[in-house]
């Protein structure tokens, strides 16, 4: 049992592991998108740009201010989340009540501004972020060698995803959020500050993207374009999972990462497109998405 279809098991497991790491990022990003969309009806095209901002915040913090990885893990999402709050107050707020397509277009423009500026300030070539010392080693599982940092990414992401799910589906705050989604004017009449709820939700969604950015910094090259193609994959993940569904975003994010990793082993040329092909299949067979209701 060292080879399946002539491919060493260790290679397959290694790719599945990488797939799971990618899937962790898909899950965190599509979760943020789903939360923002659920409450505000806005598809946040700038999500990939905020993800890149998170990674750059960590990188700059390390280079200029001596902020280490662990501090960046908390500080970068807070800082970028604050940027998100400013964006909501200054820009997005003006689009409520309009066709949701305007929100998509506005955030697309915002993504261009953010990514273009990052490109101007930091150039086209990528920079690498060192893996924190405590997580630099590997674990030998016997059947495969597991880099500690990758395991850490998966664990953190799953923890974050399920606590977000718990927060929204099982707590009183989450109930209020879901009520705002159903009927905002009525909730406001009960004395809940809905605009505040919205701004916090958007800030939290953006912070989640930034957290994914910090987590990814040590495993990928930090570039201005790191989020721009990712956000399209995440859109496809969200369509597959069903747009409003929190659980759908998490499960399909992780699942599609694994599928992508597996494709890299058996047919590498297709690994870039497998998610989109699955999206097309899901749309033909079940237009509302795997977990969506319509």
């Amino acid at each position: 049992m060292t080879e399946i279809f002539g491919i060493p098991v260790a290679v397959i497991l290694g790719q599945l592991m990488l797939g799971l790491v990618n899937g962790s990022f898909y899950a965190m990003l599509s979760l943020g998108l789903a939360v923002i969309f659920g409450l505000m009806g806005i598809v946040n095209f700038a999500h990939g740009a905020f993800y890149a901002l998170g990674a750059f915040a960590a990188l700059l913090g390390l280079q200029r201010l001596g902020i280490n990885y662990w501090e960046a893990l908390v500080l970068a999402p807070l800082a970028i989340g604050a940027v998100g709050i400013i964006v909501e107050r200054l820009l997005l707020r003006r689009l409520y009540g309009l066709d949701p397509l305007y929100g998509l277009l506005m955030t697309f423009g915002l993504a261009l501004v953010i990514e273009g500026s990052l490109h101007q300030f930091f150039g086209a070539s990528g920079q690498s972020y060192p893996v924190p010392e405590a997580l630099a080693g590997v674990i030998n599982l016997g059947f495969m060698i597991l880099p500690l940092y990758r395991a850490w990414v998966i664990v953190v992401s799953i923890a974050v995803c399920f606590s977000t799910w718990f927060l929204i589906e099982r707590t009183r705050l989450g109930a209020t959020l879901r009520a705002a989604k159903e009927n905002a004017p009525l909730l406001q009449a009960f004395g809940v500050n809905v605009p505040l709820l919205i701004v916090i939700t958007y800030g939290a969604g953006v912070a989640l993207a930034a957290l994914a950015g910090v987590l990814s910094a040590p495993v990928i090259l930090v570039t201005s374009q790191m989020g721009s193609s990712l956000v399209i994959v995440v859109f496809a993940v969200v369509v597959i999972g069903g747009m409003g569904s929190i659980l759908g975003a998490i499960v399909s994010g992780l699942g599609l990462g694994v599928v992508e990793g597996f494709t890299k082993v058996i047919y590498p040329e297709a690994s870039n497109i497998v998610v989109f092909v699955i999206m097309a299949l899901v749309l033909v067979l079940r237009p509302a998405g795997l977990f969506g209701k319509e």
Binding site: V43, L91, R94, L95, L98, D99, P100, L101, Y102, L104, L105, M106, F108, G109, L110, A111, L112, V113, I114, E115, G116, S117, H119, Q120, S228, S229, I232, V233, F235, A236, V238, V239, M243, E269, N272, I273, V275, F276, V277, M279, A280, L283, V284, P287
Partner: protein, 307 residues
Amino acid sequence: MRAATVFYLLAGVFALCAPFLGIYPVFMMKLLCFAIFACAFNLLLGFSGMLSFGHAAFFGFSAYVTAWLATAHGWGSAPATLAGIAVSALLGLVVGVIAIRRRGIYFAMITLALAQLVYFVCLEAPFTGGENGLQGVPRGSLFGVLQLKSDVAMYYLVLGVFLAVFAFIRRVVHSPFGQILKAIRENEARAVSLGYDINRYKLVAFVLSATLAGLAGSLKALVLGFATLSDVLQANSGEVILMTLLGGTGTFFGPVIGAGLVVTLQEYLSDVVGGWVTVIIGAVFIVCVLLCRRGIVGELAALQSRR
């Protein structure tokens, strides 16, 4: 309407004289190609209410097909262009069948994702030249009669195609078919209750728009002599949206003005501001969505009707 007539006359005279006014003909041709592209996109967004975020797929793939047939197989410019158009119509049919299963925001996301799929195919397929793209596409001659090497001859051909597309779109929009599309845009449920098979109408509109976008791409490949990845890139899909939005969604001439502005911005501003062009385009996007959603032509028309 008088002002509009005067405007069309002026625009027509300008377009006819442009090569003799010292304007670089290749620039004008590029502008016209993107104007066709934007008009095709507007047929979908403005007159049928569907926001496609992946129109670069049709534009770019058609450019690749034309460039490949003209370079590797020595096809003439007319058959190569027709083949490009046919392929983009087919691609439009496939994408359309999948995408019209959802509407609104989902439709936009699905077209975006499918266009990204086309992008990766173009990146990895053996015939597209990968990162380099296809260079040195010969313009050849039109049916062996009119030599297109001369920029002026090519310009008048492109202008002719543009005018034909413009007139065609006007005709489609004012036809009973166009009125039904408008009804679907305004109130889908009512159109259904009136007995229209809306998915069929939407699909036809999508394929028409994709086909015309393909025409624009093929022409662009002949005009500039190359097809590259930037033609199929998501940024290109974004730019055609901006052209339409900036000029005026759902107006006939708005996309042309928008295309003119965006292409000019890219050609001339990039010398001045360098890499900041992307940032400026993004900022124009934001301003446009926040302050000027009807676009330039739309706002002018609103101003006129208020008076």
